[in-house]
């Protein structure tokens, strides 16, 4: 298997007719992802390189059986796009859009988590999900990945590529790589994804890539200790971040002692998780444990 996306993924892209949406949507298709539809209100009936465009997600799912959506629309309309996909019965929603107001996400995520038919939302402000050799939904460069037994979950984008690249170079493949994003209110956090990896028979080890700010890593550490048999290796970025300085995105705010890289490392190690000191060491430790 793999998690979230795989051979049975039927992808629709909200915003496929846009510049970024078409570039990455078609790149995902080229990778082998089954891209079945695009949704752009007002452009229904047209197509993007043969992929049919619909006005609404419901029309697209009815016509194509799409079960996964990638959101590539501008921030002011992105929360609405996520809600629309959820309402139309999409099972996995991957939101790449950066800069969605936290208030919008608070309401959207609350709604999604409450429903009887809870859709999995990954992101927003994330690089997406790739199950190497099966499907790629998002902007992770597929060529740095290779099939294998390691699951990866990360709050960062390019740092994920770096670590996946190091793993691949060591001949260690990945089951699924998930970028949960760095926003204050993510659709899925580490625990949501770790839970899926724990149930996945292809995943033999999980790499968790965290960064300063918040307490998602600390909570993940406690959860792993209680619930996980699959070994976990971690890496945390931001040891040299000065306290109280913003480092580029909302997930990376240090507030006092809690949320620092050192506190996270301590919590992870206390849960029996080995923490690498740099991205290269991640692949070395993974190689040792596999």
């Amino acid at each position: 298997m793999a998690i979230l996306i795989g051979n049975d993924t039927r992808l629709l892209v909200q915003g496929l007719t846009g510049r970024e949406g078409s570039f990455h949507g078609l790149r995902n298709k080229k990778y082998g992802t089954n891209l079945v539809a695009g949704v752009t209100p007002g452009k229904g009936g047209s197509d993007v390189e043969g992929v049919p465009i619909f006005d609404t997600v419901r029309e697209a799912t009815t016509a194509t059986g799409a079960n996964t959506s990638m959101v590539f629309v501008p921030p002011p309309v992105a929360a609405d796009a996520i809600l629309e996909s959820h309402d139309a019965g999409i099972e996995v929603i991957i939101a790449i859009t950066e800069g969605i107001p936290a208030m919008d996400m608070a309401r959207t995520v609350t709604h999604l988590r409450r429903g009887q038919r809870a859709a999995a939302l990954i992101g927003p402000n994330c690089p997406g999900v790739i199950s190497p050799g099966k499907a790629n939904v998002g902007i992770i460069p597929g060529e740095v990945c290779t099939e294998g037994p390691v699951g990866l979950v990360s709050r960062s984008g390019t740092l994920t590529y770096q670590i996946v690249y190091e793993l691949t170079q060591e001949g260690i493949g990945q089951s699924t790589c998930v970028g949960v994003g760095g926003d204050p209110i993510p659709g899925s956090d580490f625990i949501d994804v770790l839970e899926r990896f724990e149930k996945d028979d292809l995943t033999k080890l999980v790499v968790l890539v965290g960064e300063i700010g918040g307490d998602a890593e600390e909570r993940a550490a406690a959860w792993v200790k209680e619930n996980m048999r699959t070994p976990v290796v971690a890496y945390i970025a931001g040891f040299t971040a000065p306290p109280g300085k913003r480092m580029g995105h909302a997930g990376a705010i240090v507030s006092g002692s809690q949320g620092t890289a050192a506190a996270k490392k301590e919590a992870l190690e206390a849960a029996g998780i080995r923490v690498a000191t740099n991205p290269t060491e991640v692949s070395a430790i993974v190689g040792e444990l596999l």
Binding site: A237, T240, G248, T277
Partner: protein, 383 residues
């Protein structure tokens, strides 16, 4: 964006939260005029975006307009933990019977909103949380349902607020919550919320932090931003679409993506160096952005070497190389530039750099090698 106290209070007033009457002043003369207008005893408060101004002498009481001018003269220009005071808030002083704490914020862990209240106000709330956690009441609020009267009651009774202040406090909390939500704030904190001698409850201080992502639906954010002073280098970077933070070392850092840049800072530190900055060119940076980034970094005279660490996803290696070559030709670069390039079109980019040799250009095959070279070239390798 964090707002100054006077900005936060003006906004809270619009949502019906009682705040003391006050005026902002940036000269002693303005403070005298403000005090005269307010009449009676006033409090002059330094406006800085950092805590601890009271201890630093940034809050003073004045009995006359003239005295208000004198204390303003003392406070303006004062340094509060690295922040220079440019403005003061002159407010009517009142009798304070008791001080409380309350706030609304986005709770990232629970993905909900959180209301916090304590009868221990006017002090560092983190200390209260650490020493007397039972004195802090927390109530989660469903973002879809919003605040109900019972939430306000749970906060006020839970925190054991004085009988005399309860009714008004229960009435104020939904207004504060309304401000929090309507302003797209990530935090609205009132410390202290006070009970006055006349039995009124009002916000004596306000810390409001708003979500920059929501700026498109709040034209007022731009207006509020105009008084915020950003260091020159950071302003220059921002104009060019870069995220830049100055640090104290001498190894300049350029990377793409916040996580990778933070990781780069860490490996430079581990290699014995000290990063001079954090600079994220963002996703999909073109040649002009890279060139501008080098310009910003090398404008800092403390920089002795630069490490460019790019892992292209959306960002293309050939464009990165083009930007570096452009900067080397356009600027007078006197420090070594170490380049590590991987990902999309990296091979093409590396070839372009090899074909355009420059005495200050050094390439590295891996991130760790790049860090070691940059540190060594900055002259700190042996430390």
């Amino acid at each position: 964006m964090d707002l100054f106290e006077y900005q936060g209070k003006e906004l809270l007033r619009k949502y019906g939260v009682p705040v003391p009457e006050g005026r902002v002043a940036s000269t002693p003369e303005e403070a005298v005029a403000a005090a005269r207008k307010l009449g009676g005893r006033v409090v002059v408060k330094a406006q800085v975006l950092i805590g601890g101004r009271g201890k630093a002498g940034g809050i003073k009481v004045a009995r006359s307009p003239e005295e208000a001018g004198e204390v303003t003269d003392q406070i303006l220009g004062m340094d509060v933990r690295g922040h220079t005071v440019k403005r003061v808030l002159v407010e009517r002083a009142g009798d304070i019977t008791d001080e409380y704490y309350c706030s609304f914020l986005v709770d990232r862990s629970e993905r909900q909103f959180l209301g916090i209240m304590s009868a221990e106000g006017g002090v560092d709330i983190e200390e209260v949380a650490a020493n007397d956690p039972e004195k802090i009441t927390r109530v989660h609020i469903d973002p879809l349902l919003g605040i109900s009267q019972f939430h306000a009651r749970e906060l006020v009774f839970g925190a054991d607020i004085d009988r005399d202040a309860r009714k008004e406090a229960i009435a104020i909390l939904p207004k504060l919550y309304d401000a929090f939500v309507s302003l797209d704030a990530s935090l609205v904190e009132v410390n202290p919320l006070v009970l006055t001698g006349e039995g009124r409850v009002m916000a004596l201080d306000a810390k409001v932090s708003v979500d920059d992502s929501a700026g498109y639906r709040h034209p007022i954010f731009d207006e509020l931003k105009t008084v915020h002073e950003v260091p020159e280098q950071e302003r220059l970077a921002k104009e060019k679409g870069l995220t830049f933070i100055k640090l104290d070392g001498d190894v300049g850092i350029i990377g793409n993506g916040a996580g990778l840049v933070m990781s780069t800072l860490d490996v430079v530190k581990a290699a014995g160096g000290d990063p001079a900055n954090f600079l994220d060119v963002g996703g999909g940076a073109g040649a002009d952005v890279l060139s501008s980034a080098l310009e910003v970094i090398t404008s800092n005279s403390e920089v002795n070497s630069v490490l460019i660490n790019i892992f292209g996803g959306i960002t293309r290696g050939d464009l990165v190389a083009e930007g570096i070559i452009d900067a080397l030709g356009r600027l007078e670069i006197k420090v070594p530039i170490v380049v590590r390039l991987d990902g999309t079109n990296a091979e093409q980019g590396r070839k372009m750099l090899a074909d355009a040799p420059h005495e200050m250009l050094v390439t590295a095959a891996t991130m760790l090698e790049g860090a070691e070279k940059a540190v060594e070239l900055a002259g700190k390798g042996g430390e």
